[in-house]
């Protein structure tokens, strides 16, 4: 997925860019008026800046689809698997508790879901999050450098 935006600020190897509208995903969407991606509200995105773009530059960005899909599968897949596992464990352990099998299944499901949430949270905290950020792949207009030179 590619898009265009303007660099607002830079910090280390990341940059904040302003996008008028996520053109690929939002332009023809019927729900644009109810979400933040409409024309009036400009969104701010944090992106990786391997080309060292400066503030004011117009840039093209790309979201790494494969990594993004893998992260989504990991996130939702593990939460779903944990829920099913928790329900099964709760059902199996139900004779040990003074509760009905449905109640133990429900609490088992909740417990495993929360546990999976904590494990995922730790996993994403440890892992370098930067690999999921969109990447600047081209500087369309080098306005930032131009402004710097003009100012000198």
């Amino acid at each position: 997925m590619k898009d265009k935006g303007w660099v607002v600020s830079t910090k280390n190897d990341l940059a904040q860019i302003e996008v008028a509208c996520l053109t690929d995903s939002c332009q023809k969407c019927a729900a644009r008026n109810i979400c933040a991606g409409n024309n009036q509200s400009k969104g701010l995105l944090t992106v990786k800046n391997p080309l060292n773009a400066d503030s004011g530059d117009e840039v093209e960005i790309e979201i790494p689809d494969t990594k993004y899909n893998m992260a989504l599968i990991l996130l939702f897949g593990s939460l779903l698997a944990a829920s099913l596992l928790g329900m099964g464990v709760g059902y199996v352990l139900s004779p040990l508790f003074p509760l009905s099998s449905q109640e133990t299944s429900f609490f088992g499901l909740l417990f495993f879901l929360i546990l999976a949430g904590i494990i995922l949270w730790r996993h994403f905290q440890k892992k370098n999050k930067a690999h999921l950020y969109p990447v600047i792949i081209d500087i369309i207009k080098n306005e930032g450098s131009y402004n710097k030179k003009g100012g000198q």
Binding site: C29, L80, M87, F106, P134
Partner: protein, 191 residues
Amino acid sequence: MELAAIFISAMLINNFVFYYFLGICPFLGVSKKIDSAFSMGLAVTFVMTLTAVVSWAINYWILIPYGLDYLQIVSFILVIASLVQLVEMFIRKISPPLYQAMGIYLPLITTNCAIMGLAIIAARKEYGLAETVIFGVGAGLGFTLAIVLMAGIREQLELADVPEALKGPGIALIIAGIMALAFMGFSGMIK
């Protein structure tokens, strides 16, 4: 065996998109690219399963014992909105870039009638917890299958010579109709 039947039924035979025609807005709106469709499908599957569980608990532990069945729709709406907010907060907390990329899909789930439909249908069928969860997972995977298949066809359609008047929603609805007919072929699987 009964759980397997519920799963297959929810995913293929009584597919929420092609049988009930629920969730048509995201089905048409987010089915232009396979990647976006897959993301949306995964998010919907998770929210559907969670909604099925929580609405089951509210229905059987609060609404029915206290004779508050008439509050089903209101309480299910609240459950769906709260769950989507919770999932949104969770993703924002654990991975801001993922939240940034998923931004548009999560609010769309709140207004997805397939999720509301799932909660109501599960309550009407008087499923137990296990049946409800399997029904939710099956329905979510069925929605994912439908939206990803549709996205695959629409990506190919970009190269086709579609008459001007049919471009966009027109041809998408015709394809949805043909796919619904194709999915009717699954109806003999479970007696």
